[in-house]
Amino acid sequence: MNIGIFSLSCCEGCSVEFLNMEEEILDILNHFGIENFRLVKEVNKLPVDVAFVEGVPANENEVAKLLEIRRNSEILVALGSCSATGGVLAPGAKPVGHYVDVDHCLYGCPFSRDELKEFLTSIIIDKAFGKKEYSVCMECSLLENGCLLEEGYLCMGPITVAGCNALCPSNGKPCLGCRGSYEDANLKSHAKILLDKGFSKDEIIDAFSLFSHRDLREVIEWLKRR
């Protein structure tokens, strides 16, 4: 099977993260050939079996490029938060799913290596792979970290989709919500709780605006009206 890693407009941090997987990459190459990866290859080809797309299309050329990738791939994966939800580029830029059908999303800024491996395994052994429907808060509690929200930090853990193994809170930094929220997340209640904890409306709007994908925009509007 062969894969391609494609970059649209973004910081290309996910491509770099892919190359950072020094421990895993040789094993990945045992199972997948890399047909297309502009950052490391001179000759790049289509079609591919699995296309990983990072970033968002910022102009017509990039939309055309995305459509071509979609036509020439069996499975298209939105790699990283920009591609999956719009990430830091939202709401100005639309996620890849706005233009083409996306088979899977790997959230995070950058994506989580463990989740990428989980996804690759799912392809090799034909196992189900899906979005987690619970929060970073749950992963953080499993690690018995103690709670940054209780300590007075503005943490987005309770509404952010799990899968990073609570990387930031485990290192003493509150969750910024880079992975986006999950379907079941109680966004409004979290905003109310933050207000009750004494954060200002502006602070909360800022926090919700950093990775302001569609679902969060609603809460931002609701907060502004209050």
Partner: protein, 336 residues
């Protein structure tokens, strides 16, 4: 059984040292959060005035644990069981709520004889200690008070001494050492007063008395569930922090092609959207139904199954809830 003994506070360290020669000792330690840890040196122990932030549960049912590992070889698979060797444990310094929770956890985990839990739990000696003063969230008096039914030794601070109640044959063996002295009836009186005072304190704050097995089943459609469902974040913290919640998820962590890996179990939470999701349907899609389920599982289903409430009143879920859901308020409304 002669149950009137005491130990001078100055001799406690010698007693613990003696325990450590024969057993693995677990006791409260205060780092960033307070919890029970394996003790290498008695000076690590921090006897807190009330319960630790983390309960005894992780000692017997860790948040994540390996069940078995596998590896593909030429003619099949090698499977290695991760069942741990037996460790002779002494838990020292546990409070009443946490000791009471073990009895409940035992019922759930031993009913199907979970070997991983059982091997950790079996023959564990419990040396509990009376709370000095309760936390604001404490309400153990709703479930029988500060002193649990089952323990090996129970210590109560009575000044220069700890009064020691003996609850089992194993406990009796432990106090046969010279470190222990005969206690006087005055000592026992002092102990009794101390416990009564602390329990009075809790009753005053908790303002909740549950009659034996109160019927709450008719509250299934109460509007309280809608209210709680609106504010609950479904983060699962109340489940994970609860000393009696015991649900877990089983996952496979594999290498890239699945030829080697391990099967683990991880604590799960009935507040999560996927908890009741099956191939056919999701029984509790609504947050309201999930909030209700947790309360019913502790106060209705457990009564049907085991004739007890699966709550010990430690109040950890109250302290950990971001949305400020207070299980005492919920109960007060349900038994109204």
């Amino acid at each position: 059984m002669d149950t009137f003994v005491k130990i001078a506070k100055s001799k406690l360290k010698d007693f613990l040292q003696h325990i450590m020669e024969n057993y693995t000792l677990y006791a409260p330690v205060k780092k960033k959060i307070s919890r029970f840890e394996r003790i290498e040196d008695p000076s690590q122990i921090c006897l807190l005035p009330n319960r630790t932030e983390i309960s005894l549960k992780p000692i017997f049912l860790p948040p994540k644990e390996s069940l078995f590992r596998w590896k593909k070889v030429e003619d099949g698979y090698i499977i290695e069981d991760c069942l741990n060797g037996k460790e002779k444990k002494v838990i020292f310094g546990a409070k009443g709520c946490d000791v009471a929770s073990l009895k409940i956890l035992d019922l759930y985990m031993m009913e199907v004889s979970d070997p991983y839990y059982a091997s950790r739990r079996k023959d564990t000696i419990i040396i509990g200690i009376t709370c000095e003063y309760p936390r604001e969230s404490c309400f153990c008096t709703a479930f029988g008070g500060m002193i649990p039914d089952e323990y090996d030794l129970w210590l109560t601070d009575i000044g220069d001494y700890y009064f020691v109640d003996i609850g089992s044959e194993r406990g009796k063996e432990l106090v046969s050492m010279e470190l222990f002295e005969r206690a006087s009836p005055e000592d026992e009186e002092r102990k009794r007063e101390k416990i009564e005072r602390a329990e009075q304190e809790i009753r005053k704050m908790a303002k909740i008395e549950l009659e034996e097995y109160q019927d709450m089943e008719d509250k299934f459609e109460d509007k309280i569930w809608e209210e709680l469902g609106d504010i609950c974040l479904s983060c699962g913290r109340c489940n994970l922090i609860c000393p009696t919640c015991h649900c877990f998820d089983v996952r496979d962590i594999t290498n890239l092609d699945g030829s080697a890996g391990e099967r683990i179990r991880v604590w799960d939470s009935c507040h999560l959207f996927e908890f009741a999701k099956t191939s056919a349907e999701n029984f509790r899609r609504d947050r309201r139904a999930r909030v209700r389920y947790r309360i019913y599982d502790k106060f209705v289903f457990s009564v049907k199954r085991y004739k007890l409430y699966a709550c010990v009143g430690c109040g950890r879920c109250i302290d950990s809830c971001h949305a400020g859901i207070d299980i005492r308020d919920v109960l007060r409304r349900l038994i109204r």
